[in-house]
Amino acid sequence: MSNKVNKVKVNYFNEKKETLSRKELEKLQLTRLRESVDRALKIDFYKKRLNDIGVKSGNDIEKLSDINKIPFTTKDDLRSSYPKGLIAVNHDKIIRLHTSSGTTGTPTVIYHTKKDVDNWSTLVARCMVAAGATKKDVFQNMTGYGLFTGGLGMHYGAEKVGMTVIPTGSGNTRRQLTLMQAFKTTIVHATPSYMLHVFEKMSEFGFSLNDFSLKRAFLGAEPYTENTRKKLEELFKIDVYNSYGLSEMSGPGVSFECVYKDGMHTWEDAFIMQIIDPATGKEMPDGEEGEIVFTTLMREATPILRYRTRDRAFVYKGECQCKRTHRRLSRIVGRTDDMLIVNGVNIFPSQVESVIMKYPEVGTNYLIHLNKKGSLDNLTVKVEIYSKLFKGELSQLDNLKKKLTDEIHSSIIVKPIVELHEPGSLPVSEGKAVRVIDERKEL
């Protein structure tokens, strides 16, 4: 799936590192894998598992393929260690931590040393330069700041590139557009659905495309199709680049499209990228779809080995026109679990379920309904009123609705619409309960 690009200028943040020969790259990976294993051995969780397979030091890793002897790390493993987390250095060396919400309310934590933050920023800078950014650009970061790694992650990377950064964060579309015009923003970072939303609101807020100087958009945090990318490019008259990352691998900066927009380069000097068959755990060859597994090669504070991302994709065969030797990941094609993404935020139905179960006034049957409100995702949680506890007062129902809304909101970050329904009105299934109805068409 190659897009014809006529005249593109290829820039590198660090040409040497980005175009290392495969032989050199793999040699570097082996050295760094050993270092990563040595760091991991300082963590009880990994020490036990590595010792169990006969690995007492990094030197016991003889060749790259030995990585397959190392057992997988799952999200649950990270949750179980919370809040202590997986930490391989002294706490005084930690300068930042990011948490991400877990399914049952237990978050996961990733720690960062000064070097970790710097390396992370460098990877993001590489991504941005690969997609055409230069220090002459003005960068508007339209995703949430705070614990969400997309915010600070892209921010630090953009500063490293030398762009002028406008840290707007998400929302307040009128202000986004006002600043975009005033400061002649050339590059934005957003979710694809928010980007569509911005376009819809443009004329409503009194703007036209001519008011802006946009050239590029870096879009990620939720999957979207090639068609949506093309649509956004046509609407805004810009180039759109796909970005992939996850908080366990620090955040954005893991994989990113270059100016050729033909797959996302994963920085293989920072991560070992593998595709496995989720059922058997066996590694799959390039070109075949499976679950992405990452191993960190440079992270000091929280090294992670063989992390099952639960994202499905495949690795491109062959070399990219940009001459980077770091292999490319396809678009994410799906999940191996029931995780949903709503306006760029990861949500598990079980998070909603845990809140509902705490309220005896509503029954145990619930339904999550997803649809689109314009370009943005809309999440509705339908519950049934439990006869026994119904007091007959409107105020009880109003209160209940508010409490449910607030508690679900606080758990999943996205504000839900809660609907109260009569008992027996929600569908009941014979086998596994259908908890989610997703009417959103693929973006």
Partner: protein, 143 residues
Amino acid sequence: MKITQISIFLENRKGRLYDVCSLLGDNGINIRALTIAETENFGVLRIVTSDAEKAVKALKENGFAANITDVVIVEVEDRPGGLAKVLKTLNDNKINIEYMHAFMTKHGDNSYMVFRFDDPDSAIKVLKENKINIIDGNKISEI
């Protein structure tokens, strides 16, 4: 002196009121007072019936979210100022009213209001002391 009122949770769906009324009708239950408190998406239907126990049973068996509340039926003079007179007595005695609505019939010169009080026992005491008539549960069918 407290009367059983039934509250039913209903979604704003076509035919729900009909479903309730036809169910009660089929079970030989007569509705004596009715009011609906509604919001955008749902409402609470409140009824006083000729046989509360039977009505609740039928409703619950047919999957309705229904429950009972104590209300007081107060006799109110059917003339301008009649209701205000009762309300003054209640206010003067610091009796709080949650809601109220009218009964379906009228008896002589009086009409009847259904009151839901925060504290029904205190309300009944005050009304009696001030010689305001309250209808006994057994006498509902007579009015």
